[in-house]
C-alpha cells in the first residue's frame, strides 16, 4: 500500500516537472538549515547567512560554468586553477602595473575565457579526451599564474581603497549596512545560464551532443563548435569566480585553486546534472552548491571542525549519485 502511495507521489506532475533529485536536494538544503539553526541559535543570524553566501559565490559561479561542460558529456578540471590564474594575473596588473581596476576586472574574465577556448579547441578539434585536456590546462594555468607574478601572492585593493569599489559587486559592507549583492549576481548568472541552456539553440545543441554526440553530428549539428562553446562558458565563469574570490578573501595564493574544481563538480552532481551528459540543471547546481556551503559553514556551529565537512560532502555526493543511478534504472 505504502509503495503505491510513494510511486504516485513521484508520478505527481509537479514533482516530475521539478525533477525528483532536485526536489530531494532542495528539501535536504532546507532541512539542513533548519536543523543547524535549531541546534545552535547563533547559526540563524543574518551575518551567518551572509557568511554562507560569501563562501558560495566562487564555487557557485564555477559550478554554473562547469555544468555546461558536464552536460556536453565532458568534464573541466581546470576551473579551479584558472580561477587562481585569472585573479593572480589581473590582480598583479592592477596592484603592480597600475592598470585601472575596471580593465583589471575585464582582463580577469577574459583570461578565464581564453583558457576555456583552449580547452574547447583541444577537446573539439584535437579530439583529446576532456579529462586529459583539462588536466593539462589545469597544470598550465597553475604554472602560468605563478610565473607571471614570480610566485608572489597578490592582494586586491581593500574596500576602503580608491580602487576597491569592485567589492561592492559581491558585498556592500559600509556604515553598518551589509548587503550580499553577490547573491543577486549569482541569481542573475543562474537565470541567464538556465535560459541559455534550455531555451536557446546553442544550449539545446549542447544538450543534444551531450546526450548522443554521433546522432547530433548526423543531424547536422556542428558538434565541434558547440562543444567548444560549452568550455568557453566554463572558463569564463571561472574567471568571474576569480573576481568573487578576490572580493571576499583579498589574497590570491599562487599555489591555491587546486581542489576548487572538485567542490564545484560535487555541487553540480548533487544538484542532479548527470555525469553521462545530456541533462543539465542550473537550479539543481545552485542547490548542490548551497548544500555544501551550509555544511562548510554550519558544521563548526554544532561542534564539528572543518575536516568533518569534507567527509560529510563525500557522503552526500555518493548518496546523490546513487539516487541518480536508481532513478535512471527505474526509467529503463
Amino acid at each position: 500500500m505504502k509503495n503505491n502511495k510513494i510511486r504516485k507521489l513521484f508520478k505527481n506532475p509537479v514533482v516530475k516537472a521539478i525533477g525528483t533529485q532536485k526536489l530531494i536536494a532542495f528539501l535536504a538544503l532546507i532541512s539542513l538549515y533548519v536543523i543547524f539553526g535549531m541546534i545552535n541559535p547563533a547559526f540563524r543570524t543574518y551575518s551567518t547567512l551572509v557568511n554562507i553566501f560569501d563562501a558560495s559565490y566562487y564555487i557557485g559561479l564555477m559550478a554554473i560554468g562547469v555544468t555546461f561542460a558536464i552536460t556536453s558529456d565532458g568534464i573541466d578540471l581546470s576551473i579551479g586553477t584558472v580561477l587562481t590564474c585569472s585573479a593572480l594575473v589581473s590582480g598583479c596588473l592592477v596592484t603592480k602595473y597600475n592598470v585601472p581596476i575596471a580593465f583589471g576586472l575585464i582582463i580577469c574574465i577574459l583570461i578565464g575565457a581564453l583558457f576555456g577556448l583552449l580547452n574547447g579547441l583541444m577537446i573539439s578539434y584535437m579530439k583529446l579526451p576532456p579529462f586529459i585536456a583539462t588536466l593539462g590546462s589545469m597544470m598550465l594555468s597553475k604554472g602560468l599564474g605563478s610565473i607571471f607574478t614570480k610566485a608572489q601572492s597578490i592582494t586586491w585593493p581593500q574596500a576602503t581603497a580608491e580602487q576597491g569599489w569592485f567589492r561592492c559587486i559581491f558585498k556592500i559592507n559600509q556604515n553598518d549596512i551589509l548587503i550580499p549583492t553577490g547573491f543577486i549576481l549569482l541569481m542573475i548568472m543562474a537565470v541567464l545560464a538556465s535560459v541559455l541552456l534550455n531555451k536557446t539553440r546553442p544550449g539545446r545543441y549542447i544538450l543534444a551532443l551531450g546526450s548522443n554526440s554521433e546522432a547530433a553530428r548526423l543531424s547536422g549539428v556542428n558538434v565541434a563548435k558547440w562543444k567548444t562553446l560549452a568550455y568557453v562558458i566554463s572558463g569564463t565563469m571561472a574567471g568571474i569566480a576569480g573576481l568573487a574570490y578576490a572580493s571576499i578573501y583579498s589574497t590570491i595564493l599562487p599555489g591555491g585553486g587546486g581542489g576548487f574544481e572538485l567542490d564545484a563538480i560535487a555541487g553540480v552532481v548533487i544538484g542532479g546534472t548527470s555525469m553521462s551528459g545530456g541533462y543539465g540543471t542550473i537550479s539543481g547546481t545552485l542547490i548542490g552548491v548551497f548544500i555544501m556551503s551550509i555544511l562548510k559553514t554550519g558544521l563548526p556551529f554544532i561542534g564539528l571542525q572543518t575536516h568533518y565537512q569534507q567527509a560529510a560532502t563525500g557522503i552526500v555526493l555518493v548518496f546523490a549519485v546513487f539516487m541518480d543511478v536508481l532513478n535512471r534504472r527505474k526509467k529503463n
Binding site: T155, T251, G255
Partner: protein, 374 residues
C-alpha cells in the same frame, strides 16, 4: 610511414627542448614539478673580488613558500647579503605551506647539486630527515631559518637565524593580557580566548602558539582564575568548569577559506573575548572572517602576527589591537651570512633576529616601520 615520421620528429623535438634546457646555465631551469618556482640571484660582485669568494658555489635556501609577503622580505634580506658577500643564492619554496612533499623534493634536489651550504625552513622536520642525514654525512652545513629544523639530528644544523618564536608568542601574551585583564577579572561566567594556528607541525607556528598559551595561562592563574586549554590535540590541558577557556583552532589545510571559517567559528561563540592569530596567514583569516560580523575591535580583542597590507590596515583602524612583527629582512640576511661563514669553517651560533609589538600608535616608529612590509 607517416606515423613513423611523426614519432621521429616528436622525439627529435623533445630531445632538442631537453638539450636547450640543459644548455642554458644561467637561466632558471624548469624542474619536473608543475608550479615550482625558483628565484635565482646572481650577485653583483663588487670590484676587487677575491678569487676564492667568486668560486663559492650556489647556496640554496629552501623556504616554506613564497605566498606570503613575509617571505618576499626574507628574500630581499638574503639578496642584500648575497650581494655584500659576493655569493650566488637560489631561494626556493613550495606552492603552499601544506606542500611538505614538494619541499622535501626541493631540498633533496638542492643537495644533489652539492652546494657549499643550505638554508632550510622546514615545514616538517621528520619528512626532511633523510636529506638532512645525507647532508650531514656529505659535510654540507645546514643553516636553519624562520622555523628552522627543530628535532634534527645532533650537529646537522650548524646555526639558526630566526625569531625566538616561543618568546614572540610570550610577548603577544603579555601585551594581550594587559588588554583583557579587566574583562577576565570582572567576568561572571566563563570567557574564551581563541588561538588560530595555521598548522601544528612547523616550529615557528607551534612555538608561537605554545609561547602564547603557556604565558597567558600563567598570567591568568597568577591572578587567581582557572584555565582550560582545548580545541586541538597538540595543546591540551582540559579542566572542567574553568574561568577561562583557551580554544585552539587549526585548519585542515593552509587555505584562506578554511582559516576564515575557523575565525568565524571563534567569533560566533558568545563567550569569546579575544582571538590571537599566530602568523600573517591566520591574521588575514581572522580579519576576513570578521568582515560580516564586525566584532573585532568592539566586543572581541584581536591580536595578530607579522604584517602585510590587510593586517596593517586592521591595526591602523583598530580592528586589531596590535600585532607582533618579526624582522624578516634580518632573517634573510643573517641566514646567508651564517651560510658563508660556515662554508669558510668559522664557528657560527644561533642568531635571534628579535620581535616587536606594534599598535596603531607606534607603527610609524623608525625602529618598527621598516619591518612592516606590504
Amino acid at each position: 610511414m607517416k606515423k613513423k615520421l611523426l614519432s621521429v620528429l616528436l622525439t627529435a623535438a623533445m630531445a632538442a627542448v631537453m638539450l636547450a634546457g640543459c644548455g642554458s646555465n644561467d637561466k632558471t631551469a624548469a624542474t619536473g614539478e608543475p608550479a615550482e618556482t625558483v628565484t635565482e640571484s646572481k650577485a653583483e660582485a663588487p670590484e676587487g673580488e677575491t678569487a676564492e669568494d667568486a668560486q663559492l658555489g650556489k647556496i640554496y635556501l629552501v623556504s616554506k613558500g613564497f605566498q606570503h609577503q613575509f617571505w618576499q622580505a626574507v628574500l630581499q634580506g638574503a639578496q642584500e647579503a648575497a650581494a655584500e658577500y659576493g655569493v650566488e643564492i637560489d631561494f626556493q619554496g613550495p606552492d603552499t605551506e601544506s606542500d611538505i612533499a614538494q619541499q622535501v623534493n626541493m631540498f633533496n634536489n638542492a643537495l644533489n647539486n652539492n652546494p657549499p651550504a643550505i638554508g632550510l625552513a622546514a615545514l616538517d622536520t621528520e619528512a626532511c630527515l633523510e636529506g638532512i642525514t645525507k647532508a650531514q654525512s656529505a659535510g654540507i652545513p645546514i643553516v636553519g631559518f624562520d622555523s628552522g629544523v627543530p628535532g634534527a639530528p645532533e650537529g646537522a644544523i650548524v646555526a639558526n637565524a630566526s625569531t625566538d618564536n616561543y618568546a614572540a608568542g610570550e610577548l603577544a601574551a603579555e601585551e594581550t593580557y594587559k588588554l583583557i585583564k579587566e574583562t577576565i577579572a570582572s567576568a561572571a561566567s566563563p570567557v574564551r580566548i581563541g588561538v588560530m594556528n595555521q598548522d601544528a607541525t612547523s616550529e615557528s607556528i607551534t612555538a608561537r602558539g605554545s609561547g602564547f598559551v603557556d604565558r597567558i595561562k600563567a598570567l591568568i592563574e597568577a591572578d587567581g582564575k582557572t584555565v582550560s586549554v582545548e580545541g586541538h590535540d597538540k595543546w591540551v590541558d582540559k579542566a572542567d568548569g574553568a574561568d577561562v577557556i583557551i580554544d585552539v583552532a587549526v585548519p585542515a589545510q593552509v587555505t584562506a577559506e578554511l582559516s576564515s571559517i575557523d575565525a568565524q567559528n571563534l567569533l560566533n561563540k558568545a563567550d569569546t573575548i579575544c582571538i590571537y592569530a599566530s602568523n600573517q596567514h591566520s591574521g588575514e583569516g581572522l580579519v576576513n572572517g570578521d568582515a560580516n560580523l564586525g566584532k573585532l575591535g568592539k566586543d572581541i580583542v584581536g591580536i595578530a602576527f607579522d604584517s602585510g597590507a590587510l593586517i596593517k590596515s586592521a591595526v591602523k583602524d583598530g580592528r586589531l589591537a596590535g600585532a607582533v612583527t618579526q624582522d624578516p629582512l634580518q632573517i634573510g640576511y643573517k641566514t646567508v651570512e651564517l651560510c658563508v661563514k660556515a662554508t669558510k669553517g668559522e664557528t657560527v651560533s644561533d642568531v635571534d633576529t628579535g620581535c616587536q609589538w606594534y599598535t596603531a600608535d607606534n607603527m610609524e616608529d623608525p625602529k618598527i616601520a621598516p619591518n612592516l612590509y606590504d
